[in-house]
């Protein structure tokens, strides 16, 4: 719109800068997931439980990550993928809840979430999700997708470097990862699968 302030030249310049990029759905979900992963990483005294809710069933699957040879022996390494879904979310100090709020000096670099590909062969399953200490065992947080009618179930999820316990929720039943090492669940009995995540 041409006004006193905005003559034709400025109008043309502004128009050339006003081109909108498309809202790629995968990118949007990547942003949402990274924001949620970051929330889990640094709850503050006030925001600790706000925003917790069932997520709709959508995830960011990255077919190229499946090729990672590490999956074959059941261990998962962190990788990063491009675009807005890059783990830029996990930055800054991790704040301790309760009565003290003290940021750790260098928690930022080490505690950044990393993209981790997960895979399960379950041809007759109707729904599969990853549950673990990285998503508060919420079966709606990290649903997996299947390519084609009988391919493996996959998802690329965010988790921080370190040791994690997890399992798959297959049609409502908690199932260990056949490709991963197991460990005894000290508190609830039974076994859990172990995931060691490292920075890329």
């Amino acid at each position: 719109m041409i006004t006193e302030e905005r003559d034709e030249l400025i109008e043309r310049a502004a128009r050339s800068l006003a081109v909108l990029p498309p809202a790629n759905h995968a990118v949007v979900m990547g942003i949402v997931q990274a924001a949620r992963a970051h929330r889990r990483a640094r709850p503050s005294l006030v925001t600790q439980f706000t925003g917790w809710m069932r997520a709709p069933s959508l995830s960011v699957a990255s077919a190229t990550m499946l090729a990672a040879a590490t999956l074959v022996i059941g261990f998962v390494s962190g990788g990063s993928f491009n675009g807005a879904a890059t783990a830029a979310a996990d930055r800054g100090g991790v704040i301790r809840g309760g009565t003290t709020l003290i940021p750790a000096a260098d928690a930022g670099a080490d505690s950044r979430s990393v993209a981790v590909p997960m895979l399960l062969d379950a041809p007759s399953a109707k729904s599969v999700a990853v549950v673990g200490d990285f998503n508060d065992w919420d079966p709606t947080a990290t649903p997996m997708q299947r390519f084609g009618g009988d391919g493996p179930w996959t998802v690329t999820m965010m988790a921080k470097p370190g040791r994690h316990l997890y399992a798959f929720m297959v049609d409502g039943v908690l199932t260990a990862d056949p490709r991963a090492p197991k460990t005894k669940d000290v508190d609830y009995g039974g076994e859990a699968s172990v995931l060691m995540v490292t920075k890329p």
Partner: protein, 180 residues
């Protein structure tokens, strides 16, 4: 300028994850556009946008019920962009306003007739001091009112008008040469 239905941020604030997704879907294109224009780097822009939405997600409890979402979001995004520029190793040297005249005189013989307009605009944009670029983009590309821009940047109205004016003057001076 399109603003999101005000009930959606309120729902997101109350914990509705679907509402947060709607917010990202609605604002992502504009946020990325602003960040790209501000930072001049696709990678930096995507990172700044991700950071901004993460902060929005974290900061919802601080979002006042009677506030408008647009300026609040853009304030967070503008801050992320400023942080990114401060941090960036690819930081391009910023040319002060006073030096523009000398620059255009030196560049004139080199400019091609019919140079790509968009590219030329971006080049000039990059030469603007960050504050002017920010004010210009918010005003003429993102279409915010001066009151909203004041809320986003924390600067006074007259200072903002001056920044926009200077940015326009610089753009005119450089771009008129391209136009011929």
């Amino acid at each position: 300028m399109n603003e999101i239905d005000p009930s959606i941020p309120l729902r997101a604030r109350a914990g509705d994850e679907k509402a947060f997704i709607e917010i990202v879907e609605f604002y992502y294109p504009r946020c990325l556009r602003f960040a790209r224009n501000m930072l001049g780097s696709e990678q930096d822009a995507e990172e700044a946008v991700q950071d901004a939405f993460t902060r929005v997600y974290d900061s919802f409890p601080r979002f006042r019920e009677d506030a408008r979402f647009d300026p609040w979001l853009f304030r967070i995004l503008a801050n992320r962009c400023r942080t990114s520029m401060a941090r960036s190793r690819r930081h391009r040297s910023m040319i002060e306003y006073g030096e523009v005249a000398a620059l255009s005189a030196a560049a004139a013989p080199e400019e091609e007739f019919g140079a790509d307009w968009a590219e030329e605009v971006r080049v000039v944009l990059e030469t603007l001091p960050a504050e002017q670029r920010e004010a210009f983009l918010l005003r003429h590309v993102e279409d915010l009112s001066y009151e909203d821009i004041a809320a986003v940047t924390g600067a006074g109205l007259s200072a903002l008008r001056m920044r926009v004016k200077r940015a326009c003057d610089t753009l005119r001076a450089r771009l008129e040469k391209v136009e011929r």
